[in-house]
């Protein structure tokens, strides 16, 4: 079982919502669609689910062309961001509904529903209606409906976005186990880079209706192919600057450092350098030693981490570090960048080093 998109596009009223996309999604791990709101995650899911028609290209499931197949016949499951359940039915009937439509025997339905309810701790709620449940329970009911049905593909469209922090963590830890060993292709849309990293598997980065990079989650985090991918897969936003590379040195503003490694071999010229916030520290150490001084604009201190937004004349950068570090707003502060963690992108946005 694999889900393949071949040259899929989608237009609405002359506007391109999905640019030509080719992807091969496989079972056994999470396939995360990561991108900000409006980047086309939901549009892509709707195309895969058959709720929208693609303008061109084809969709294959298990090698079979399903482009023209109706949603009903694709044997899939979908969980929305909003808690969608059938309001006039009990939790039991909600979970059982896709099985009943498929014409499954009553005794088997009973077993499947109870199994799904056990996994999602819904056993005591089986005879309540959705509106009598909390938000987390409602979403668990929707998830139970998705796992009770043995579908070819499961689409989770930001299923945790409307849950509170605590529930979100709890359910996110459970998610990989829920779908492990079911043989379905699991597609998970999210706008949070952290969530993609926690879920692992593979990630497709989306920006403006286009998949900019697809691969093993950890791998594409470490090796963004272009500047857009680096920006999509970074929270807080990745720090960028236009640098001039002259000989073995890189220069922007008052920052000037000696290059090492592959970057030395770049032809001289202008590049965009990008470095993640956690590689710009408010103190100097063995790895982070290139001084980037700026005026502190905003400082946020959480229990274990400190972040500071600072201005270096042209660029606004963010520093993220462990521990609590005091910053005085409006004052110059010395920050230190790790030169080995810098990505270099050429003028076309493609990764140079």
């Amino acid at each position: 079982m694999a889900l393949e998109l071949v040259g899929i596009t989608k237009q609405v009223g002359g506007q391109t919502h999905i640019k030509e996309t080719t992807l091969r999604l496989e079972p056994g791990h999470f396939n995360v669609l990561l991108g900000e709101t409006g980047s086309g995650k939901t549009s892509l899911i709707k195309l895969m689910a058959g709720l929208d028609k693609a303008a061109s290209g084809s969709i294959r499931m298990n090698g079979q062309d399903v482009t023209k197949l109706s949603t009903q016949k694709r044997n899939i499951a979908l969980v929305h961001q909003f808690f969608v359940n059938y309001p006039h039915w009990t939790v039991f009937d909600n979970i059982a509904s896709p099985l009943r439509v498929a014409g499954m025997a009553k005794s088997e339905i009973q077993g499947r529903v109870e199994e799904a309810a056990d996994v999602l701790q819904l056993r005591p709620m089986l005879h309540r209606r959705p509106h009598e449940l909390s938000g987390g329970q409602q979403q668990r009911c929707a998830l139970a409906r998705a796992i009770a049905k043995e579908s070819n593909a499961v689409f989770l469209d930001e299923p945790l976005a409307n849950l509170d922090y605590k529930l979100r963590e709890e359910l996110r830890d459970q998610l990989p186990d829920l779908f492990a060993g079911r043989g379905a292709v699991v597609v998970y849309a999210t706008s949070e880079p952290e969530e993609a990293l926690l879920l692992g598997g593979k990630t497709a980065l989306m920006n403006d209706g286009r998949v900019t990079q697809f691969g093993d989650t950890a791998d594409i985090y470490r090796n963004p192919m272009d500047i857009v991918s680096a920006q999509v897969f970074s929270d807080p936003p990745i720090n960028t600057a236009q640098v001039r590379k002259v000989g073995s040195r890189a220069i922007f503003g008052s920052v000037d450092w000696e290059l090492s490694g592959d970057a030395v071999g770049l032809t001289d010229g202008v590049y965009t350098v990008a470095v993640r916030a956690n590689h710009v520290l408010p103190f100097k150490n063995d790895t982070a030693f290139v001084p980037v001084t700026g005026k502190v604009l905003v400082a946020e201190l959480s229990g274990s981490q400190s972040s500071a937004h600072f201005n270096m004349g042209v660029e606004n950068w963010v520093s993220l570090s462990n521990g609590v570090h005091p910053f005085s707003i409006g004052q110059e502060h010395g920050f230190y960048m790790d030169p080995d963690k810098c990505f270099f992108f050429g003028p076309d946005g493609k990764r140079a080093v």
């Binding site: 709720l51 949603t71 059938y86 309001p87 439509v101």
Partner: protein, 265 residues
């Protein structure tokens, strides 16, 4: 009793006065009604009701009215449900204009349509049938129902439809077993308004019927008979005419409050 209760009580009494007067009249003899002012029936009589329940021209009036009102409500809701779904779920060329045009059908008085309907129905042999009145009332009730139902459907997220299709529901099955139950209060409100309009409408009902389908309201317009004025009888007929409306309102009162909250009633 507290002071703040006085005003509402006075107001309600004021509203109830004509209804009380009607009911009181229905238990009086015509002689007493014509003889002067009396707050209560001096000699209580059930003769007026006896006449209505025994004279076929009277009680058939009720049957006729109930028949075409029911047919009309069923047709209106059946037609309006898919129409409202289309307006609520799809964007198509001229959708907003069409929706507004539907509403404009309610802007013309019924008298405008009485003549064309009369001629048309006479020509096709529908004159003096239940269907004639039921269809004529659709002209007003379908737009109203579409408007009310569209409002309720707008409150149901589109994701519910998508979830059902993904779960394997065909469109008709989804519509009947999931969607309609989800907007059942809207169906109740729309049906109530169809019922009320059709029940009280006189002009079209009277124009399009003669004997076989003559509604109760038309029967009531014959104020004089060979025995002179029969005001008591008319009052009894009027009282009986209020009852079905009162029963329907009792059942849908909560839904109507919901409809008001959604701004569609």
């Amino acid at each position: 009793m507290q002071k703040r209760h006085i005003l509402p009580i006075v107001y309600i009494l004021f509203l109830m006065l004509p209804i009380y007067w009607l009911i009181a009249m229905s238990f009086k003899t015509t002689g007493e009604i014509l003889s002067g002012f009396s707050l209560f029936p001096q000699e209580l009589t059930l003769d007026n009701y006896r006449v209505i329940f025994t004279d076929p021209t009277w009680y058939w009036g009720y049957f006729n009215s109930i028949a075409y009102v029911t047919i009309n409500t069923v047709i209106s809701i059946t037609v309006a449900l898919p129409a409202a779904y289309a307006f609520s779920r799809y964007r198509f060329l001229g959708d907003k204009q069409l929706f507004f045009w539907l509403l404009t059908n309610r802007m013309a008085p019924a008298a405008v349509f009485a003549l064309p309907f009369f001629q048309l129905y006479s020509a096709v042999g529908l004159f003096d049938t239940y269907l004639a009145v039921a269809l004529a009332h659709c002209l007003f009730n379908i737009p109203l129902s579409v408007w009310i139902l569209e409002g309720f459907m707008g409150g149901v997220p589109k994701e519910l439809d998508e979830t059902a299709f993904v779960d394997g529901y065909s469109f008709p099955r989804f519509f009947a077993t999931i969607f309609i139950p989800a907007i059942k209060s809207g169906v109740g409100v729309a049906a109530f308004f169809c019922f009320m309009f059709s029940w009280v409408e006189l002009l079209l009902a009277k124009t399009l019927t003669a004997v076989a389908a003559k509604p109760i309201a038309a029967t009531m317009t014959k104020t004089a008979s060979s025995a002179g004025y029969e005001l008591g009888l008319l009052a009894a007929a009027g009282t009986l005419t209020i009852i079905p409306g009162a029963i329907v309102i009792y059942f849908v009162r909560n839904y109507i409050a919901k409809g008001f909250a959604m701004g569609r009633v």
